[in-house]
């Protein structure tokens, strides 16, 4: 399914289930004291940070490639990607391995985040897709949702994992 098609299906889903209580599970993680969420079905595994093999002449957010059971997986630093202040990697720095069906086929990629937070059931109708101010990162953001009075930023993985820009 192409990225565009998938997007339109999701928008449809959001519209039609407004009264219902259909929920979608999101895995959330912390970065720069903000909570971000990704669709839990895209998460392959969560692992501790380990040194990756550097790829020459790659952008600064590309931290290298790892061996994930025989597959070569690129690892990107999400702080760097979002141009947030960078921090040193520590023992609690984690890598979330994500797999998303893009228009170039399945892509697996790891993102480096500060720490894993929680798993939430998010009612699809509660996701606010508007009101996000346009900024340089807004195209990575699917929407906002409030969980326990805290804001969670839901990420658009299709965009995030297409790295050819």
């Amino acid at each position: 399914m192409s990225a565009a098609a998938q997007e339109s299906v999701e928008i449809e889903k959001i519209q039609t289930t407004e009264e219902g209580l259909a929920t979608q599970q999101y895995l959330t993680f912390l970065m720069n004291d903000e909570e971000y969420g990704v669709d839990i079905l895209a998460v392959q595994e969560i692992r501790g940070w380990e040194r990756a093999t550097m790829v020459p002449n790659s952008p600064s957010h590309m931290k290298g490639v790892l061996n994930l059971r025989g597959t070569i997986v690129p690892i990107i630093d999400l702080r760097d990607r979002f141009q947030l202040p960078s921090v040193d990697y520590s023992d609690i720095t984690v890598v979330v391995i994500l797999k998303v069906d893009t228009d170039k086929g399945d892509r697996t990629m790891g993102i480096i985040v500060d720490a894993i937070s929680d798993v939430y059931d998010v009612p699809i109708g509660k996701v606010r897709t508007t009101g996000v101010a346009e900024n340089r990162n807004s195209h990575f953001i699917k929407g906002l949702v409030t969980v326990d009075k805290n804001m969670v930023i839901l990420l658009e993985l299709q965009k995030l994992l297409t790295i050819d820009d």
Binding site: A52, M54, V55, P56, N57, V65, N67, G70, P74, R107
Partner: protein, 709 residues
């Protein structure tokens, strides 16, 4: 029980292509004056299988066409007909035609029947002992069915009677009791008809002949059927459905709505020699255009375009593999047992077990790799035909000599090798071998030779394409290169460098661009294709003696012999084939050219130097080159010296794709996983040299900008 025939389509196509290849090969080998029976039999068998297969799967266009071919071949086989060159040529063209039809069907398209119809008309003329070329002219209105051995066919003049089948057909199907015992299943035939007419049919069963229960033999068929088909099918299509039961049943087919008696009478009369007598057929045939429109509906839906490929594996290889896996299982259980009751006293056993495991794994790896290996004859086999046709087009006499057809090569490599080789052979024939007159003038024999050789040499496969033609014309190449601005007017080039010019983009010395050369695929593409396979191509040539192209390729794409090198804390891998030598850095050998680029004096050559840590942007703590190693690598005929910190071991590495999850990286051809589980990148030597050139240009530009400012 319903069987989806479409699952077998792929197999059918592959078998048919193989059959066509066999036919082609047989035809090329055949001596027209003294045909070899064995070859004729082979050709006949191939044609027969294709006809049978296409009939079964409902590809009637192919089946009908092949039928004519088969009839002719049958006459040749039984000695009733002698072959001549025209027939041979026609047979070869028809092989192409069938291949096109099958390809169209495989892609789910409607095959173009115009060629096939022309060819068929010509074959029919031959069968009637007429001049086939005349038949071609008349083919549009030639009437069929009058040929001996010819089934009622779907092509007809379409005179009034042709309209008869337009509403559909009524069929009386009265089988003999033993029908079922011959393995024929009436419901299958009905289903086939139903597919042909998209289900617009009705079947009525007649139980008049059913005996009383006590005398009923359960293995006999006592039922008769009456079928009405409400679709403008062609009679021959329906005939085809019942083809196998013609001897075991009474079948009356007549246009829908007509009285059964009148028509069936007519048909019944002619039934015994139905295949010979045209009278019964003509009134109920419809025109070809209708037939091609209607017939393939059913099969076409099933044959969705699909690209899957398969290989045939020698059973020995599979047996071997099974043995290895058996051994692996034994070793594994031995180790498992050892692990359960382990004490330090058994360390020796453990080490032995692990050694055995390593041994097993390596053997298994090798055997699995062998499965992908196929003899290079798969590529070579298409060349005799190519040479024959091209030689004729060029009015040259050329023999093709091939050796080493059984040399094995990875299937992926083989698939990508076909086009470059076709190009090289065409080139040799077009530009290399001279016309017979010229050859005689130069004191050579009238017939030129193109030689194809394949052999293994130290882990590589080497393919040579050699001709005994005029050789490369150095002056003309130089002149052309100057005209195109590839080299400067006063450049002084060695002979090898001149030959290398032909691999430059946009370079053609052919005075006339024929349809053979100048197809937009130049020698630069050939070189690029071969470089993409990690191979190399060299050219040797001698004036008036001929030229020789030598292609070197790795046996497989999946595994590479690598040299591990270290740069700071990173490990990279050079393909071993690309390394010329490695030397310890000694300051005195380095010369600085123009303040920016360093060159290494290597005996009588100067080799540009590239610092891997700079090129790859690796942070360095000291930029002291002492203790460094310079790895001299060669790509595209150019040498560069790559400075690394240390040489590590050599090992075979399994190539993994970096592009699968990331993207192409300049200077890197892929990645691999080392023994400790970490990833190491494999260096793309030709990409690296380009990278160094661009970085030099960058530098150059910066300098210029600086000066301008």
């Amino acid at each position: 029980m319903s069987v989806d025939l479409s699952q077998f389509h792929q197999v059918f196509y592959e078998e048919s292509y193989e059959g066509l290849d066999a036919m082609e090969q047989g035809l090329l080998e055949m001596n027209v004056d003294a045909p070899d029976d064995e070859i004729i039999n082979t050709i006949f068998r191939s044609a027969h299988s294709i006809k049978g297969g296409s009939g079964t799967f409902g590809f009637m266009q192919v089946a009908n066409f092949t039928h004519v071919l088969e009839t002719l071949l049958d006459e040749v086989r039984s000695g009733d007909r002698s072959l001549n060159q025209t027939t041979m040529d026609l047979l070869l063209v028809s092989v192409d035609c069938m291949r096109d039809m099958l390809q169209a069907l495989q892609n789910g398209e409607e095959p173009d029947m115009s060629n096939a119809d022309d060819l068929r008309a010509q074959f029919e003329a031959i069968l009637k002992n007429e001049d086939p070329s005349q038949a071609l002219a008349q083919s549009a209105n030639s009437k069929e069915g009058s040929d001996s051995g010819q089934p009622p066919s779907d092509k007809s003049g379409g005179d009034g009677a042709g309209a008869d089948g337009k509403n559909g057909w009524s069929i009386d199907f009265i089988p003999e009791p033993q029908l079922l015992q011959t393995g024929n299943e009436p419901t299958r035939m009905f289903r086939q008809i139903s597919e042909l007419c998209d289900g617009n049919m009705s079947v009525t069963v007649k139980t008049d002949n059913l005996p009383s229960f006590s005398s009923l033999n359960p293995e006999h068929c006592f039922l008769n059927w009456h079928i009405d088909v409400h679709a403008p099918l062609e009679k021959s299509v329906i005939d085809e459905v019942f083809e196998w039961v013609i001897d075991d049943a009474e079948i009356n087919i007549y246009p829908l709505g007509q009285s059964c008696e009148a028509e069936s009478q007519k048909i019944q009369e002619s039934e015994p020699d139905k295949q010979v007598t045209p009278a019964a057929v003509e009134p109920i045939a419809v025109t070809t255009s209708q037939s091609t429109d209607e017939k393939p509906k059913a099969p076409q839906k099933a044959a969705a375009p699909q690209e899957s490929s398969s290989i045939r594996v020698d059973i020995d290889k599979v047996d071997n593999l099974i043995n290895m896996v058996g051994e692996l299982v034994i070793t594994q259980s031995m180790l498992g047992e050892l692990g359960e009751n382990f004490d330090m006293g058994r360390v020796q056993r453990l080490q032995e077990g692990l050694a055995q495991l390593e041994h097993n794994t390596r053997e298994l790896q090798e055997s699995v790799m062998k499965i992908r290996m196929m003899p290079i004859s798969f590529v070579f086999s298409r060349f005799p035909r190519l040479v024959r046709d091209t030689a004729r087009k060029l009015d040259k006499k050329i023999d093709l000599v091939m050796s080493g057809e059984n040399t094995e090569l990875d299937k992926t490599v083989m698939e990508k090798l076909g086009d470059p080789m076709v190009h090289l052979i065409r080139n040799s024939m077009d530009h290399g071998v001279e016309t017979p007159e010229e050859r005689i003038k130069n004191g050579k024999s009238e017939t030129g030779t193109v030689e194809l050789k394949a052999y293994h040499q130290s882990g590589n496969i080497v393919i040579e394409i050699e001709d005994d033609g005029a050789g490369l014309n150095t002056e003309r190449i130089l002149q052309k290169a100057r005209e195109n601005g590839v080299i400067s007017e006063d450049a002084n080039l060695s002979e090898d460098q001149v030959f290398d010019l032909i691999f430059q983009p946009g370079f053609s010395t052919a005075d006339v661009v024929s349809d053979l050369s100048g197809r937009g695929v130049g020698m630069d593409v050939v070189r690029r294709n071969i470089a993409a396979l990690n191979g190399s191509i060299e050219v040797f040539s001698q004036k008036n003696k001929g030229s020789r192209f030598v292609i070197r390729l790795p046996l497989t794409l999946a595994i590479l012999d690598g040299q591990l090198v270290q740069v700071e804390d990173q490990i990279y891998i050079f393909p071993l084939v690309s390394i010329v030598e490695s030397i310890q850095y000694q300051g005195s050998e380095l010369n600085n050219v123009g303040g920016h680029s360093d060159v290494l004096q290597l005996r009588d050559e100067y080799v540009p130097i590239l610092l891997l840590n700079q090129t790859f942007g690796i942070q360095t703590e000291n930029d002291d080159l002492d203790e460094s190693i310079i790895v001299v690598v060669e790509a595209d005929g150019e040498k560069i010296g790559v400075v690394v910190d240390e040489l590590l071991g050599q090992q075979q590495v399994v190539i993994k794709s970096l592009e699968e999850n990331y993207k192409k990286v300049e200077g890197i051809s892929g990645a691999t996983i080392l023994g400790d589980g970490t990833v190491a990148l494999i260096i793309d030597v030709s990409g690296l040299s380009k990278l160094s050139v661009t970085s030099l240009k960058d530098l150059d530009r910066k300098v210029k900008n600086h000066k301008a400012a």
